[in-house]
Structures are given as C-alpha cells and as structure tokens.
C-alpha cells in the first residue's frame, strides 16, 4: 500500500531521523524542513503505522510535526488526531518535572520528545474512514 506522509521539521543542526514502520516493514529516513515521505508498505488488514522519532536533540530542540497522511490515495483528514504519541522522555528532564508528564498523548501530531507516534490502521482505508465518522461522538 502506498503511504504518503507529509511532515514539517524544525531544527538547527540536528536533522530529525524517523523510523517508519508497520508489522512487516520498516524504513529509516533523515528529514529536512519540509518532507513528503512516500512508503510502499505491505499492510496487514489490521495493522499499526508507527513513526519513531529516534534522535531528539535537546540542545538543538529539533521537532517533527505530522501534517498529513495519505494512505491508498485517501487523505486520513483529521482522523490522524486519533493517533497517539508515547514519548521516551530524557531521564534528566523527566526527573525535574513536577507533576510528571503523561505516558502518552492523544491527540498529538507534534513530536517534541523522542518516542513513537502510532495509529491503528484497518483496511480497506475508505471503510476505516467511514467507521471513524460513524463512531465520531462530536
């Protein structure tokens, strides 16, 4: 399945590196300020798309922002906010926090710590979106 992920990054010297994965595929990319990452993943019917921000540099304060995800030529629209981000906090920083920050965030599309953003994916994508609309409790 073709997966297109648009990401914006901010950094000074340390360009963010992200690992994109599903159950059967994994690929690592070094990002620039504007990115259009195109993946060809063999997705399971029930799968999880993961974006692991692996080189957070607290001195550089590099940040990755997920702007848009297009799967199977279908824009996941605002449903990307159903994804969650589980940070791997810098232990030194974490110790200083009171109260402690949460284990995970959802909605979250700005990766300001190292960690894994993930979203469950159900094929076919069009039907996944219909079910998201169906269960939207707005």
């Amino acid at each position: 399945m073709r997966i297109e992920i648009k990401l914006d990054c901010t950094y000074k010297n340390t360009a963010p590196v992200c690992q994109f994965s599903s159950t059967k595929n994994i690929i690592t990319k070094t990002l620039t300020q504007k990115n259009d990452v195109v993946l060809d993943f063999n997705m399971e019917k029930l799968d999880t798309l993961k974006i692991d921000f692996i080189n957070k540099d607290d001195n550089d304060d590099n940040v990755v922002v997920i702007k848009k995800i297009i799967m199977d030529d279908i824009d996941l629209q605002h449903f990307i906010y159903h994804g969650s981000f589980t940070p791997r906090y810098n232990p030194e920083w974490f110790e200083k926090q009171d109260p402690k920050p949460p284990t995970s965030y959802s909605p979250c599309t700005e990766l300001r710590h190292a960690g894994v953003w993930k979203m469950d994916i159900h094929a076919p994508i069009w039907e996944m979106l219909m079910k998201e609309w169906l269960n939207d409790k707005r």
């Binding site: 824009d75 069009w126 979106l129 219909m130 609309w133 169906l134 939207d136 707005r138």
Partner: protein
C-alpha cells in the same frame, strides 16, 4: 378474549399506542423515508431560479473554506426562506458554533424563535408555491434552500451533526436528478432517488456522500421544517407504515 382483568398499564398501552413523530424521526435513526409528496414539474426557468452565483460555503462562513475545498467540487446552493437579517444570524450562530459543527438546517432551527425569518422570493416563485402546498404556515419552516451539483461534482463522505439528537429531519426534493447521480449512505447502499421524489433524510447518523455522474446539473430542494406540522406529520406516518409492511 376478555380485556377486563388485565393490568391498567398494559390496557392503556394497548388502547392508546399510536404513531409518535419524535419516535419515528429521532429515536429510530432510520436513514431515509420516501414521502408521498409530488412537486409540480419545474420549467427550465424554475430550475434557473434555484441556481446561485454566490458561493454557498462562503455565504455560511464555513471554517477553513479554502483548505477543505478539495472535499467538495461544484457544490453550491441558494436560499429561499430563512433568517431575514443573515449577518446577524451568522454572528449569533458563529458565536456559539465557530467550527460549523452543526449544519445549516440545525443553525436555522436553533434560532427560529429568536430571529425574524421570511421568504426572500416573491409569491410567484416556483419553490415558494410548491413548499406552501405542504407547509402552508410559515411558522413551521426553518429553512428552504437549493443545493446544486454540476456534472462531475461531488461532496466527500462526511457526517452532519445535530443539536438535539435529530435523525430524520431534512425534506429533500429531487427537483432535477438524472440517472448516474449517487447519494450514498454508508452501510445502506445508495438512496433510491429518482427525479421528482421527495424523501425525508437522516444526515446525522451515517456518513454519506453525493456525486453527479450525469451530463446535467443536479438540483435538490432542502427543507428544514417542523415535522409536527399537520400535512408533513401525516405524510411521515403514512410513509413509515408503508415501509414497515
């Protein structure tokens, strides 16, 4: 069989149970009901009157209008009955719902008792004459508008949201509807609409979408009204009974 010794609750329920418009339209979440209503066949001029040069999404101040515009192609509308001071109406409704969570029908229903509403066309207007036949009292009307879709036009799958747990609400008149037009309702197939049909639609429960695959404009009239008004109420009950046979 005697009914003399049965409990009062059961006796009353059996003797007094009837059709409740709120149960049919709000609680059941039926996706659509075809109503036995016929509008007169419109002339070409009548159809022209339903079209508008003004951008509907702009008129209603949809948020992120440009950003989200890829989700609609050619979809437009024109208003025939609604709030007379449209700017004031938008100011009030936007203050409460700046994300446009609720659809146009809902917004108009919500402020019906607060603001002044009236026809914005004269008495000879085709739409006005047709609507008056089923809704003679203007107090029962919240909004009358057209929606048009050119050949190749579409609206992406989406859901509308209601302020008061509505289900069936929108009186939908297929004024100009060639074959190859699609109104899809997720999990229920396509609504079996033919030109001239009048449906009561529930656009609040299921994702739905429209596409005009024909070579002609598709024009519908959308009426938001008090479903307890006498003619409409009876049409709904008749349609419900028929659909349950």
């Amino acid at each position: 069989m005697t009914k003399d010794n049965i409990p009062k609750l059961l006796k009353d329920a059996m003797s007094q149970n009837s059709y409740d418009i709120d149960v049919i339209t709000k609680y059941l979440k039926i996706p659509w009901l075809k109503l036995d209503i016929k509008f007169d066949t419109p002339s070409d001029d009548d159809i022209k009157e339903t079209l508008s040069e003004t951008d509907w999404r702009g008129k209603w101040q949809f948020p992120d209008n440009e950003k989200m515009s890829y989700q609609v192609k050619g979809w437009n509308g024109n208003i025939f009955f609604g709030p007379t001071d449209f700017k004031k109406f938008l100011d009030i409704s936007s203050a409460e719902d700046d994300e446009h969570t609720y659809d146009e029908d809902n917004k108009c229903r919500k402020f019906r008792k607060i603001l002044n509403y009236d026809w914005c066309v004269d008495d000879n207007c085709y739409i006005k004459k047709q609507v008056k036949k089923i809704l003679p009292n203007d107090e029962d009307i919240n909004l009358v508008n057209s929606y048009s879709l050119p050949p190749g036009g579409y609206v992406f799958p989406h859901r509308d949201y209601a302020i008061d747990n509505m289900g069936l609400a929108k009186i939908y008149v297929a004024l100009k509807w060639s074959t190859d037009n699609v109104f899809g309702m997720y999990g229920c197939g396509n609504i079996p609409i033919n030109e001239g049909d009048v449906f009561l639609l529930n656009n609040y429960t299921l994702p739905h979408w429209v596409y005009n695959g024909s070579n002609e404009d598709r024009v519908v009239i959308d009426i938001s009204a008090n479903l307890h008004s006498p003619i409409i109420k009876q049409k709904i009950i008749d349609a419900f009974k028929k659909s349950m046979l």
